[in-house]
């Protein structure tokens, strides 16, 4: 789960990292009032995406009136599909140097990596592509943490205008904030050195590990949930992974890999999947709810059910699904592929209750569903 700037910066502040004073507002008058209190300010759009500056979502205001005007312009603006509904009015900083700092999970080293560059302000892909020699990285053993000596070593020899110690201390605090908050990414860009020698975080991107939400209940409510459709929200409430897509062949399978593959094979045979819906793992008892959900998507013309039992038992999944089918009696062509744990019982249930046999394999089931959706059942 991602946190917008206004929600991420308090996490830095709590770890002892300097951040500018700021006030979050939802209308232009409040922006003017905030500017009166803070002096020279920057008005910043709060949306869960980068590139706000390039889109015109960050403006400098020398007076309260200017702050009001900027807020009027920015509020309601659309930045990468997000409509701006709130702005952060932030005290202006005297920027002498801009740096880049981040801590993130690295699947390659299987541990956290601390990154620092003297080229702040650009995004990390640009830094890595254009000035890789200026990007310093340190792989950290999370059991031991990131020491001040480690941070000093990371920035050693870089031209930092006397801010070496301040930056090293900030990097250590950044690492501690990363650990304390189950971050998968904690990025400060730019990390600024002011004219009077203070190291201060001007922006912050924080991404909380979804698997850490359970034990981060204090901060989690401040995160920005993913934009979900009504059906996706229903799936989340039911504990079923459901992603709505724009096709007309409904897909119901167990396990992430098998469900993705079912979508791939539908596409391979010239069809368009209507959804990703999987009831593998602990969700395998939820066949009834899952079937209702995939059928509730408007415009669905056929359904492919692909069960390959391992932990998830085919018979249990089939029982749930057939119960929903009996209740709804949908007028929809459906094709099954069934294999693995509990398959014999599941196939017998299908025969007894729907007088149907599964297709010989998944390709046949997907192809039949695609043909049915196109109205040319073969």
């Amino acid at each position: 789960m991602n946190f917008e700037e206004y929600a991420a910066k308090p996490i830095l502040a709590a770890a002892g990292i300097n951040v500018p004073e700021s006030i979050l507002v939802h209308d232009a008058d409040a922006a003017a009032t905030a500017a009166t209190e803070l002096g020279r300010v920057v008005v910043k759009a709060q949306v869960p995406t980068g590139k706000r500056g390039k889109a015109g979502g960050i403006q400098l205001a020398n007076s309260a009136d200017e702050a009001r005007t900027h807020a009027e312009n920015i509020l309601g603006m659309t930045i990468a599909t997000h409509v701006v509904e709130k702005v952060l009015v932030e005290q202006c900083s005297d920027i002498a140097r801009e740096f880049y700092a981040a801590v993130l999970n690295d699947p390659t080293t299987k541990g956290p990596v601390v990154m620092f560059s003297t080229e702040g302000g650009m995004d990390i892909e640009e830094i890595a592509a254009e000035t890789p020699e200026k990007l310093r990285k340190a792989a950290v053993d999370i059991r031991k943490g990131f020491s001040l000596d480690g941070a000093r070593e990371l920035v050693d020899g870089l031209p930092l205008d006397g801010a070496e110690e301040g930056i090293a201390e900030t990097l250590v605090k950044l690492f501690d904030a990363y650990c304390a908050n189950d971050a998968e990414l904690l990025e400060v860009n730019p990390l600024v050195l002011t004219g009077d020698g203070i190291v201060i975080a001007l922006d912050c991107k924080f991404s909380l590990d979804d698997s850490g939400i359970k034990r981060q209940q204090e901060i989690a409510p401040r995160g920005t949930p993913d934009k979900l459709t009504e059906l996706e929200i229903r799936g989340e409430d039911l504990g079923i992974k459901y992603i709505e897509l724009d096709g007309d062949v409904a897909v119901l399978a167990n396990g992430a890999g098998l469900t993705m593959t079912t979508m791939d094979v539908v596409r391979h045979h010239g069809g368009n999947p209507a959804n990703f819906c999987e009831i593998g793992g602990e969700a395998y008892t939820k066949g009834t709810e899952a079937l209702k959900m995939v059928l509730d998507k408007p415009g669905v013309k056929s359904l492919v059910v692909n069960f390959c039992g391992a932990f998830a038992r085919c018979d249990v999944m089939m029982e749930g699904l057939l119960n929903a089918w009996d209740e709804l009696k949908p007028d929809l062509p459906v094709f099954y592929s069934i294999a693995g744990t509990g398959d014999e019982v599941a196939i017998k249930m299908l025969k007894d209750r729907m007088d149907m046999d599964p297709m010989p394999n998944m390709d046949a089931a997907c192809k039949a569903a695609v043909d049915a959706a196109k109205g040319s059942a073969s």
């Binding site: 053993d141 850490g212 396990g255 993705m260 593959t261 979508m263 999987e278 390959c308």
Partner: protein, 289 residues
């Protein structure tokens, strides 16, 4: 990494739970040499015919064990894994999904230091044909698993089940199956699994089941390029929209990273036959075996 054999002693952490019990019984029936279980609250009792210990350390001190398989909820895994690593487990199979990644990185660092072979998290486990299995793959279903000469590895359990069924129905069988898990940070990588299968006795071809996200397939391609045995691959998620986690936390395309096209290109450059659908695996095996 090491492939677990029938003579290896296996511990089950979380043996007394519903799933722990069900799968321990299945593993025992298949031939897995289960010598003990762990549940601190039921230490000193017996379950599924084996002693229950308070910790993996106690199990090691008493009868000893080589490998452990964990049926443990997400927030309990860190302690259980550290217990097993400190006890001296040679192999750990971790089935649990949704473990906080920082916990995973913590015990992964410890496992690396001790030389522990860590499989998972979020895996369905491993099968060594006609010897043993660890986890919850349907090793006992002879339409899915049959002794043969194909080594199989996968990031997904359900898709591997389908692939293994296709292999058996085409008249072939497996030497071993290694499920490595669907998380972004995992102990045994695609490359580690391919290397282990390559040198495993009886393997004459390898089937690699990958997914979009990360760069493990690309990394494995470097090793495959130098292999003599044929490798056949299927990569799931070609039809998945970018920026969405497709059920597995590791299966996500970000920008141009982890795409289907990148993986297909790297594997084909290494001489791998990348299948359009899993149903083609039988024909692909016929060409090379």
């Amino acid at each position: 990494m090491r492939i677990v054999r029938r003579e290896h002693k296996v511990l089950v952490q979380g043996i007394t739970g519903k799933q722990g019990t069900f799968w321990t019984e299945r593993m025992q029936e298949y031939g897995t040499n289960i010598t003990g279980g762990v549940n601190p609250k039921k230490a000193g009792t017996e379950h599924c015919g084996v002693p229950v210990y308070a910790s993996a350390k106690d199990a090691m001190a008493d009868g000893g064990f080589d490998a452990t398989v964990m049926f443990i909820p997400p927030l309990g895994v860190k302690d259980a894994a550290m217990d097993a690593i400190e006890a001296g487990a040679k192999t750990i199979v971790c089935l649990t999904e949704h473990i906080p990644v920082q916990d995973v990185m913590y015990f992964m660092a410890a496992a690396k230091e001790r030389g522990t072979s860590f499989i998972g998290p979020n895996t369905a486990g491993t099968v060594t044909l006609d010897e043993c299995f660890l986890g919850f793959m349907p090793a006992f279903n002879d339409r899915i698993f049959k002794k043969g000469n194909v080594g199989v590895m996968s990031r997904s359990g359900s898709l591997a089940t389908l692939m293994c069924q296709n292999i058996v129905s085409a008249g072939y069988g497996q030497t071993a199956f290694l499920g490595i898990g669907g998380d972004p940070v995992i102990g045994t990588t695609t490359r580690d699994a391919v290397e282990a299968l390559d040198v495993f006795e009886g393997t004459e071809a390898i089937v690699m089941v990958g997914e979009i996200g990360g760069s493990m397939e690309e990394d494995a391609a470097e090793y495959v390029a130098g292999m003599d045995k044929p490798v056949i691959a299927f990569i799931a998620g070609g039809a998945a929209p970018p920026g969405k986690k497709m059920g597995h936390a590791g299966a996500i395309v970000m920008g141009d990273k982890g795409t289907y096209a990148s993986k297909k290109k790297a594997l084909e450059a290494a001489g791998v036959n990348v299948l359009a659908t899993p149903s083609h695996v039988g024909d692909a095996l016929k060409e090379v075996l």
